[in-house]
């Protein structure tokens, strides 16, 4: 595939991520913050998000497996996940977190377990998509091109 095609593919891909609600305006803000002095800023922040999310998802799984669920603890983790997902613009993850918090408030175990499944799912979707996007970007850069905004 030639450079122009790659670039077009990237633009289309990015557009679809926004249209499908995987990313929102906040992601754009992150891209705008990146500059020559910090050329890997977006990848860096997204990697932080991946690490943090994986930790939180594990904690959530453990917390919901307990005999007597500590909803405050669950809520605290979801709260954090909501915060970091909104900071990178991972809109669908953020939305599930909002529903998740409501179930925590109601102390509804079933609801919480369902939300955990959902948030895991949305997280793995956005992770795959972002990784694909970064791969495309890398291909473009390796071919000597620049990333279209």
């Amino acid at each position: 595939m030639d450079l122009v095609q790659l670039q077009r593919q990237l633009v289309d891909y990015k557009t679809s991520l926004y249209n499908e609600g995987f990313l929102d305006e906040q992601f754009t803000q992150l891209q705008e913050l990146q500059d020559e002095n910090n050329p890997d800023f977006v990848v860096e922040v997204v990697s932080l998000f991946f690490e943090d999310s994986e930790r939180l998802l594990n904690e959530l799984t453990k917390a919901l497996e307990q005999q007597s669920v500590d909803f405050k603890r669950v809520d605290a983790h979801v709260h954090q996940l909501k915060g970091s997902s909104s900071s990178i613009g991972a809109q669908r993850v953020q939305k599930v977190c909002i529903a998740f918090r409501n179930y925590c408030e109601e102390q509804n175990i079933e609801g919480c377990v369902k939300c955990l499944q959902q948030v895991r799912h949305e997280y793995s979707l956005v992770k795959t998509k972002l990784e694909s996007m970064f791969q495309l970007q890398q291909q473009i850069l390796s071919a000597g091109g620049s990333i279209p905004m």
Binding site: Q26, Q29, L30, E32, L33, D35, N38, F41, E44, V45, L48, F49, E51, D52, A76, H79, Q80, K82, G83, S84, S86, S87, I88
Partner: protein
Amino acid sequence: METGDGASGSSSNKRPEEDEITEKNRKPEEDEIIEENWKPEEEEIIEKNKNLSVLVVDDDPVVRRVHDMLLQSIGIKAHVVENGKEAVDLFCIGLSYDLILMDKDMPVMNGIEATKEIRGMGIHSMIVGVTESDVDSEKREFATAGVDYCFQKPLTPERINFILNDLNNF
């Protein structure tokens, strides 16, 4: 013409009169934050902000990095800590900051307690509370504790600009 290079030695026009800001950077309608095309004269902004000290307090590594970068992009190298207690400790050892970005929900010591403690120490620096959600009761609680402003996270360049303009007019 400003070279933007602070090392050039001409300190005559680099007075710490940060409150004497040029009219074009003031935004009279404070609540009318212009979301699009925030592109002020970069060099000028960075010069103006060079002497500002900012403390970022947040337990989320993603948010810390994003706020840090936001500030960096306008010439500010912030101190970054993970919770309210770490922030209070910095004040206890005598450090001071022009601006504190204080997250509300943190382990060890949350933003509300930390704000109360800092205000209790007689510190009048600007504190901007940063909350998860846009809920009024949360913001009010934070305001009662002593923050000057409260915004939902993450902060945007427009919000930072608004805060700094206000700070410079303090």
